[in-house]
């Protein structure tokens, strides 16, 4: 199935605004599964996912577990919360600044309760130990992401960097 992104420009423009300097490219999708994906749903998923990155950045940069619940659920939320607890215990903070996203939606489950996407993301990772900058690195990673719907938005249930 082709995803005609007449809305792509709109989506990318919106995404660019919402995630500061990160550039966003959404590829036409080639879905597994029998369920058609409405353009409105696809836009909402991508937008909510990009906002989840903002939440991730704030949570890991300020060691705030309480901000996670809006955008993360299940294992993804638990793992990030655990990382924040580890950072707090060790006196660390990590700033993640996403620079670009190349997103493709790959699976919409038949019952409509999960969507999977692949994101080739570039981000800067800065690690601080007791407010001293230890390193700043540019990272390119391929993420597999699973989102599930909640009352008002799609929330990230799996966020996992994978090796190609």
């Amino acid at each position: 199935m082709r995803y005609v992104f007449a809305g792509a420009a709109v989506l990318c423009a919106c995404a660019t605004v919402s995630v500061a300097q990160a550039s966003v490219h959404v590829q036409p999708y080639h879905l597994q599964g029998p369920r058609p994906l409405a353009e409105q749903t696809a836009n909402a998923v991508v937008q909510d996912y990009l906002e989840a990155w903002q939440t991730l950045r704030g949570a890991l940069g300020q060691n705030r577990v309480d901000t996670l619940d809006r955008d993360f659920v299940g294992a993804a939320r638990d793992k990030l919360a655990e990382t924040i607890q580890q950072q707090t215990k060790l006196g660390l903070r990590t700033n993640y600044q996403d620079r670009s996203h190349d997103i493709q939606i790959v699976f919409y489950s038949p019952e409509g309760l999960s969507i999977q996407l692949i994101d080739n993301v570039d981000y800067d990772q800065q690690v601080l130990d007791h407010e001293k900058v230890l390193t700043t690195q540019h990272v390119s990673a391929r993420y597999v992401v699973v989102l599930t719907p909640s009352e008002t938005r799609w929330r990230v249930r799996v966020l996992q960097a994978v090796t190609e």
Partner: protein, 285 residues
């Protein structure tokens, strides 16, 4: 601070930086989640090694020049990590891959109840995880099985893609609770799907005199696969004569519907359930 002390301090800091600059790490490119691994450090003196990713963080004080052993279970969340020494410009990366063994299958099956004989009416989607809740992204074969007691089972194997697989299956011709099983890597998850009879099929009624009335009764009402339609299903009897119409709705009781209607010679009596029509009787003069 005196000039001498300042000079000593600068010299010490300079020496420490030099040491750090000379130190480095040899890090495996990838490990399996939860497995033991080692990092070889070079240089001398004390240092701190950091392993940092969104998924997990480790920090350990080390003796430079030694092998740093991380025991099994210390790094278990799959992801992409930076590995570096304090004060060193060198940074390595470490990929943690999902463990090879499947430990959990997330299985979404829909619907929980549907009519028999519905083509591709049952769908299932699975995500496969290891024991650390990492999505297992390498291809795995998922064996789906849909079985109804007394009926033939449907079996299909699907290979996961990025940790996910899905299937659509037909509901069986026989009513009853079907077991829908997804099995992968020795782990199986079962969902129960209620398969209920479909719409009535070929409703047949008979008529006989009953005093001033006509007694109507259906044969046991079944769906097109031969399953008994549940009691409570409404059967509608309609009598037409000379432009006048009498309609009576009767719920099935013990599989049949019975009613008495006015015996009007020449009347036409029909039976139906929803949009499904049965036979028609013309009552004799």
């Amino acid at each position: 601070m005196s000039p001498v002390r300042a000079l000593v301090a600068v010299t010490l800091v300079s020496a420490a930086l030099q040491l750090a600059a000379q130190s480095g790490l040899t890090v495996p490119k990838a490990i399996e989640a939860g497995s033991a691994f080692s990092v070889q450090s070079s240089g001398s003196g004390q240092g701190t090694v950091y392993i940092v990713g969104p998924e997990q963080v480790l920090k350990r004080d080390v003796q430079l020049g030694s092998t740093i052993n991380f025991e099994a279970g210390s790094l278990y969340n799959a992801g992409h990590y930076l590995v570096f020494l304090s004060g060193s410009a060198d940074t390595a990366t470490l990929d943690v891959l999902p463990a090879g063994k499947i430990a959990d299958v997330s299985f979404l099956a829909r619907p929980s109840r549907l009519p028999v004989g519905l083509r591709e009416g049952i769908t299932g989607a699975v995500y496969v995880f290891d024991s650390y809740e990492n999505l297992v992204t390498k291809p795995e074969t998922v064996a789906f099985e849909l079985s109804t007691p007394g009926g033939a089972a449907q079996n299909r194997n699907i290979t996961t893609r990025d940790g996910a697989a899905w299937i659509a299956m037909d509901s069986s011709p026989k009513e009853g609770a079907a077991q829908f099983v997804a099995r992968v890597g020795g782990i199986s998850t079962t969902r129960i799907i209620g398969q209920v009879p479909g719409d009535p099929c070929g409703i047949q009624m008979t008529a006989k005199p009953s005093g001033p009335k006509v007694a109507l009764e259906t044969a046991p009402v079944r769906d097109c696969s031969g399953n008994a339609v549940p009691d409570g299903t409404v059967i509608t009897f309609t009598e037409n004569y000379n432009g006048a119409q009498t309609t009576v709705d009767v719920p099935l009781k013990r599989g049949v519907a019975k009613v008495e209607m006015p015996a009007v010679p020449g009347a036409t009596i029909t039976v139906a359930s929803g949009v499904v029509l049965g036979n028609q009787i013309r009552w004799g003069r």
